[in-house]
Subunit: 480 residues, 3 copies
């Protein structure tokens, strides 16, 4: 946006205290009262991607670019689309074609393109962090980039800006990480044993690479699991037993859920014999695509069975074409902004799993989607009947103000409020956690206020619901 | 919601006179004026599932639980999801695992979980019935469950609460039922011949089980039809002739439409010879899935041809996976809340039918859907060109305030108001009929008021349209 | 609508100066200020279907019916659905079954059915043209049809109502037409060379019938191309070279884009040898459907490569089942209102093309859709990463007020404002151009005003964005 480059008077950055609340005065009044009930509530974060070592080590955050840009693929993707190279943004180029740039260069590229984020969820979260954590009151621009960089960098050195200090300042009650099944969880244990840190940081079991024969590294992962379990790599019953044992290890370290990033939520019961045959092929590297799909579908159903046994909540995040741009993946690796949604289908795919466990109170199955068409057509009707099924909060591209209101409108009339997961931030960006939860609370208040203003709900009930949605509901669904 | 169980002061239940009208004051004023024009208009209900014997026998309604819970699978599904067993709700358990509970127990389970229905269409309809018919002014809860039960039960014994009294109190002008093609329609005849009852109660021809070789009971149904027609069960021309004769029987008893609950609106013209071959296989029980699909598709097209001949309006309700949970179906039967929507496709599936009859003024074809994606993409464009095609009102999960506004916004800009069916309640729950029609009228007024407030329509035209939509339009589409 | 036929007092037609702006007073104030910034901006129209001879010849427009009805299939389709025959509307009946009617008859049929267009985009555009160009202040009706006809006909004879006068009165800065690759573009050259006409009228390269073996006339088109190029019809390398040469011819005449109306945006790289084999089959008429799909997919990818070389912006308009009603097509030809949308899929279909050219700054690829489900799920995520991909403005049935707001809400939170194409009118109806651009500007202002009122964007940024969206943005995307 060249105009942005030529401005000389910085534009103000201001956080409207009523942001995201309905504009209609009557409705806004109701929304303010509802929001006030939850604005300061503790943060429950049952699923996300923060590294536990961030809190274990409690080192100061690095420079502003590494903090706000480098690892946030919501941000890097739009900068890339506008022509900025990943190397400039600090992402190493495996092809060696380009040197990684200085953080300050990345920051300048970002500030001079601040306009790209106008109207986006990322822009909203960034503005919240800039305003609330760093007291920044002007919009980033080419002109003030260096000044903002220095200002943020200076503040990052202060003790109150360290991860643990922010953890308590943010009011985080529970924070779940996402971990490899073979992770020894030493970091989680150390945090739990540390008398100077009272926060609850829980691991999450994420076995995709161990159950999907087509996942990169599947054979190595399975070999490592077998070595740990002391059995042959292609011994299917022992493989299942080792997965169960690793889940127990996670449960012993406080895990409450297991997460599955399958391409489609396909489930099937192959029976142990057929499953064993396909597993042997998978380990031998001779399995074909259709067989691999069946094996993964079988393990998804098996994982539901394990949840019935060990109580881990099962969350599914399906419908993503990962690393759509092969050439970008080859040069810059995964999580570089080209994971693209694809249509999702739950009704047929999940039927075998639901037939087996769908009404078993021991199973909690939370379904996420980035295909909005499934909200009113599939997910809400399933969650409105099956006792095990809960509706995951809007995920990824849909975790944004208008998308969240579409989500609420699409599922509530069919499934009410009791079938929802509560808000999930699902983020790597530690500093965005309060912004995301605050956004969700404002949107809950806005949605409920509209129901009240339209005479569809009394305010007293709305008040109870808005409070439940940030506390009792997620704690119930995730067994916290 | 445990909180609901612990409250001691009952929360008030109040029907806002402006409920569902736009919150913006200017728009609300317009909406009030438009709503006032239709608030008291007679109810035209061209499609639904009320049992004609309800009106023929005119017995008092049974207890509150049987009236409001037992047969309303919108209600039972959410209670089931929350952990209440169907047996407790009064649904017999074929497995014998559980005894059917007392109505009062079902009612208590419902009242203590009233919060489950917050924000749902069912909650809205129930509140309307409680408030308008029983003068209830507090929300159901564990504490007041017995008192509400006794209060409703007492009122149900009063003569003005009998079905016929309510029929006239509701201002029902026409009510269509849904009936088996072999039904003798004696109940409809008796009602028509009864000088003490002036209501119009029409049968609807629903032949699914007679034309879908994979439908439960197909062979018995076809055998019964053949026995009635006096021909061999596998005589295709005679089978077609008997279906035509049964349709005539329905027409003679006032039927105006034939309804089709196919899984997909697939149509194909096989020609009589090939159709005859497949029919013989179907009757012999040797037809395969692909052949069965073709035969049903052929009969759908044949049924359109019959409508051209006898004038019965053709309504299609596709895109539902019936009885998704086999184990629940085995124990508790159909209509227990696990019919789940699936994607629907109209453009390719209906093409042979539309090529043959789509512009024939003698055919009225009303398309319903629970797949919202087809509103703007398929149904509105088809109805905006083909003379026979009309857009069915939001159905099932989509018959709810926000979903209805999405529907109007999705179809109106392409097809205007002249291509709609008018409101269809499609309900089994007799007491919810006024609530549903009133909801629809409020939403029509709200949508039109928004167009007026946005300068897209003048109020005089809006007034004519809102009146047409509850009278002239459905009467035209359904030839009433 | 019989009521319309019986009215005697004409209803007023009034253009609300605030039409389409948000109703909430606070938001409306902001929207007014934003709209005022662009209300009078020059019109940039990078894609449409106006005939260049209209401006070259600069003849008076014919009668009102031919001007407003005959060629507008948005209008004819709804009149047809309501029972008016195409012949009555002026469309010749190839079957000879019906004589073409008098324009005045068509006009009367239209006026007496004005109510059909209530709430539609067509009705909005027509009202705008009637009010702003002809000073009409009453709604068309059976009663005033003849008077309106005479009034419009009289004004059409005045010099200021000629095409060139209106071109400048409308403030059109650039107008792109859509042309056959073999068009000599003499009309465009003559306009460019005419010292008395200063408007910019650019051709657009539309090669569908030359690259799709299943397109009507493919073999004749390819033969004509080969004859022009002086090579054998089945010489694939020469065929590609001739297409490139024709593109150069367009570029030399000012073309900035090439448009593709493929059924699905399928791309594949067959390699020259395999492509040559399929091309030979296509020319010989022996290609099968799967091979034809592959050849077209290959040529789509080849066309992207050509755009990289010659800089023509590539626009894709996929997902339409053309001429759904064969019998209507046979009698009345194409563009008679039964082109029906079908589901579109971009993520898998475009992957080979994007892998090859998706991040090449020399390619601008604008994706249009009439399948709304792809906005948030596919198009916005793709445009938010790939440098070449831009989000096409709402097209066809979706170019309407509510649909445009759904579009903005669906794509902005993911892709911001920098990835959009700017408004595209895509119209044949010359007189509707100002109405369409004005509608788009009002809706942009309304959307941005909502973000401002909800505290998601500051008004100063919104002001810059609304101005960019009608000028800098489309000029950047279309290289104007």
């Amino acid at each position: 946006m060249p105009r942005g480059l030529n401005r000389h008077v910085p534009m103000t950055l201001r956080l409207d205290p009523d942001r995201l609340l309905p504009v209609d005065p009557t409705t806004r009044e109701v929304a303010r009262r509802l929001y006030a009930l939850v604005a300061g509530a503790p943060i429950v974060s049952p699923h996300g991607h923060v590294d536990p070592h961030l809190l274990l080590d409690d080192e100061p955050f690095p420079d502003p670019a590494t903090l706000f840009i480098r690892y946030d693929h919501y941000v890097t993707r739009l900068l890339h689309a506008d022509g900025v190279s990943f190397a400039t943004l600090g992402v190493p180029d495996a092809s060696g074609a380009e040197q990684v740039g200085e953080p300050r260069e990345a920051w300048r590229a970002f500030c001079s393109r601040w306009r790209l984020f106008a109207g986006t969820a990322s822009g909203y979260w960034l503005a919240h962090a800039f305003g609330t954590l760093f007291g920044i009151d002007e919009q980033p621009s080419a002109e003030n980039a260096d000044a903002l960089y220095d200002r943020i960098a200076a503040q990052l050195e202060r003790p109150e800006m360290r991860p643990r200090a922010l953890f308590s300042r943010f009011g985080i009650d529970v924070l779940a990480t996402t971990d490899d099944p073979m992770d020894d969880l030493a970091a989680h244990r150390a945090l739990a044993d540390d008398p100077t840190f009272s926060g609850r940081v829980l691991p999450t079991f994420r076995p995709d690479a161990y159950i999907d024969p087509l996942a990169p590294g599947f054979r190595d992962k399975v070999a490592a699991l077998a070595a740990w379990g002391g059995h042959a790599a292609d011994d299917y019953p022992a493989y299942v037993a080792s997965l169960e044992a690793r889940r127990r290890h996670f449960v012993e370290h406080g895990a409450v859920s297991a997460d599955f990033g399958v391409r489609e939520p396909y489930s099937i019961d192959l029976g142990a014999e057929r499953a064993g045959e396909l597993f042997a092929k998978a380990v031998a590297g001779t399995i074909d695509a259709a067989e691999a799909r069946d094996f993964l579908g079988h393990m998804l159903l098996e994982s539901a069975r394990m949840s019935v046994d060990d109580g881990l909540v099962m969350t599914i995040h399906p419908g993503v074409h990962r690393n759509h741009s092969q050439s970008t993946f080859d040069r810059f690796g995964p999580d570089t902004g080209h994971d693209i949604p694809i249509p999702a289908e739950f009704v047929q795919n999940l039927r075998p799993l639901l037939e087996r466990h769908g009404n078993d109170p021991r199973l909690h199955l939370v379904l996420f989607t980035i295909d909005e068409t499934t909200y009113s057509r599939e997910i809400a009707p399933l969650a409105g009947f099956y006792r095990s099924v809960f509706i995951g909060a809007p995920w990824w591209f849909l975790d944004a103000p208008d998308a969240v209101q579409r989500f609420r409108a699409a599922v509530t009339e069919t499934a009410g409020f009791s079938r929802g997961s509560g808000f999930i931030d699902d983020t790597r960006a530690f500093l965005s956690i309060p912004a995301r939860h605050d956004m969700s609370r404002r949107l809950d208040a806005a949605f409920l206020a509209r129901l009240v203003a339209e005479g569809r709900l009394d305010e007293e009930s709305a008040a109870e619901i808005v409070v439940d949605m940030v506390g009792a509901q997620p704690r119930k669904v995730f067994r916290l």
